[in-house]
């Protein structure tokens, strides 16, 4: 019998039952074909490794919602055109939504929201549909502050006054809001913020009653790039965050120290006028002052107009979780004495539950809100 063709040897590796027995018998008894088969199997294995990847777990509900929007608009646009081309690119918005990458790199512009530690993790931009962790050290925060020309406290939000403006290295940022203030009840907080405020019905041991509700009105901020931003000069990005409501719980023993915070806010969004998304990203990430590891993480995010990065100090442990079916990020300090979970639901509401509690308790509370 003639030696076996490479193509058949290749299939033998994948689909042995599809190859005639005489081929298998020949390979078993032929040193040349056997060696060749091993060589081919080695290449196959190498290729398989190259194409292997961590398994992406996309959110099908979000994807379907997105596609539904496209189906609706494309059908409306179709009119009498019944044979559209097979390949259809999504239409670009006239004012492109700005990527989180750009937003995070700006840091400073990442607006802020609620004046609590819980809310501090919720700041920043865009039309995100889910959350992901991004490691952010103090030194990187300082580098961002230096790079943008803003004070440290502004890089994660927390503008010192409700209205104002500040000069950055490459432009100016102006912001406006009203100060955060307490509300007398859940109903009042919900009415003021225009948000549904859901609270857990079962609280973990050690958590007392709601101590106060805090309402943070909507915050608007605009960055206008000056000529030092080269191709971005004259462009502007408008950021819109909040409103938000935080329910603060006291300890069960009556201490005044808050043990649990439940925050709800509208997802932050941003719009750009002038520069394209790619121009903004390219500019910000190429600035020499941008911390390289942070820039790398931002690139690794992949997108994203749809991702809300949750800044995480390097010492905090991070785990991805599902909260009522929605992807979330669970953070815990090394001793597991304090934890937080952040997620976004189908209504575009971003939630955070933060407590001096272990991860299990925090997740239990979160699941009651989802």
């Amino acid at each position: 019998m003639r030696h076996i063709y490479d193509g058949v040897l290749r299939r033998l590796d994948d689909e042995p039952l599809a190859v005639p027995d005489r081929v298998t018998d020949h390979v078993a008894g032929c040193g040349r074909c056997s060696a060749r088969s091993a060589e081919i199997a080695h290449d196959t294995e190498s290729a398989a490794q190259l194409f292997s990847a961590p398994q992406l777990v996309p959110d099908v509900d979000i994807a379907w919602a997105r596609l539904q929007g496209e189906l609706g608009s494309s059908r409306a646009d179709e009119g009498d055109m019944r044979w559209p081309s097979a390949r259809v690119r999504p239409r670009r918005a006239r004012f492109p939504r700005v990527s989180l990458r750009a937003g995070l790199a700006m840091g400073a512009v990442g607006v802020v929201v609620v004046g609590t530690a819980a809310a501090a993790t919720l700041t920043t931009i865009f039309a995100p549909t889910h959350v992901v962790p991004v490691s952010l050290s103090q030194s990187e925060l300082r580098a961002i502050a230096a790079f943008t020309g803003l004070a440290d406290g502004q890089t994660l939000g927390g503008f010192s006054t409700p209205n104002g403006s500040s000069t950055m290295r490459f432009g100016t940022i102006t912001w406006s809001s009203r100060p955060a203030h307490p509300a007398s009840s859940r109903a009042q907080a919900a009415a003021e913020a225009g948000l549904p405020v859901t609270l857990p019905s079962h609280l973990p041991a050690g958590v007392g009653a709601v101590r106060q509700f805090i309402v943070q009105p909507r915050v608007k901020a605009a960055v206008t790039f000056n000529p030092s931003a080269a191709s971005l000069a004259g462009s502007s990005v408008t950021l819109d965050a909040g409103p938000a409501v935080v329910a603060e719980y006291a300890g069960a023993s009556g201490t005044d120290v808050p043990t649990l915070g439940v925050a709800t806010m509208r997802r932050p969004t941003a719009r750009s006028a002038g520069a394209s998304l790619r121009q903004i990203e390219a500019f910000l990430l190429s600035q020499p002052g941008t911390p390289p590891q942070l820039a790398e993480q931002i690139r690794l995010l992949g997108d994203l107009r749809t991702t809300l990065p949750v800044p995480v100090p390097p010492s905090v442990s991070v785990r991805s979780v599902q909260v009522a079916g929605w992807p979330g990020v669970l953070l815990a300090d090394p001793s597991n004495a304090a934890s937080a979970v952040v997620w976004e639901d189908s209504r575009g509401l971003v939630h955070a539950v933060v407590g001096i509690l272990d991860s299990h308790d925090v997740l239990n509370v979160a699941d009651q809100l989802g």
């Binding site: 193509g7 290749r10 081919i40 190498s46 994807a63 494309s74 097979a86 997108d303 749809t306």
Partner: protein
């Protein structure tokens, strides 16, 4: 009934809502596989999801009300659409896949190695002949020899030959990348 009339009839059926429900079911069943297939080519998750979006939108229009026929088509369309995206870009080698489910933040070293490996694979996929790139992605994306043969319009017996040549070329090109 002419093709155009049949197509219009299907679209009308689609408009009554039943079609959308059927399409949603089809979408949910195949979405994950399509995104992963696209991801194996384009690298990052967002572009993979963009590819999937395009493919399902095209399937919706191409197979109105008759999605069972579209199951194989979406995978082939995904491979070609993803390769089009890959070959249309030249500057994204530093952007890499993000996995939404993570157990911890990856170490910097792991991230760098993984990123370089994926960038190498994408560069090689751009350089390989189109059919070789397609057969590699299809096979390592889980398509059978019969499905690949249908997709490429060749005999089943020829798929092994194409695959062998493609994997051999892949190895050589990857060696070149490593020694550049």
């Amino acid at each position: 009934m002419g093709l155009q009339a049949r197509h219009n009839e299907r679209l009308e059926r689609l408009d009554d809502g039943c079609g959308v429900a059927a399409f949603e079911s089809f979408f949910r069943y195949h979405y994950l596989a399509v995104v992963r297939l696209a991801q194996s080519v384009v690298g990052d998750s967002q572009r993979a999801q963009d590819v999937a979006q395009d493919v399902f939108l095209a399937a919706y229009r191409r197979f109105p009300g008759d999605y069972e026929q579209a199951a194989g088509w979406v995978r082939v369309a995904t491979v070609h659409t993803a390769l089009n995206v890959l070959r249309g870009e030249r500057r994204r080698d530093t952007r890499e896949l993000r996995v939404q489910v993570v157990t911890s933040l990856p170490s910097a070293e792991d991230t760098v190695i993984e990123r370089e490996r994926r960038a190498d694979v994408r560069r090689v996929l751009r350089r390989l002949p189109r059919r070789s790139a397609a057969v590699l992605v299809m096979r390592h994306g889980g398509m059978s020899y019969v499905e690949i043969a249908d997709a490429l319009g060749v005999r089943v017996g020829y798929v092994g030959t194409l695959l062998r040549r493609a994997e051999s070329a892949l190895r050589k090109e990857m060696d070149r990348e490593t020694h550049l």
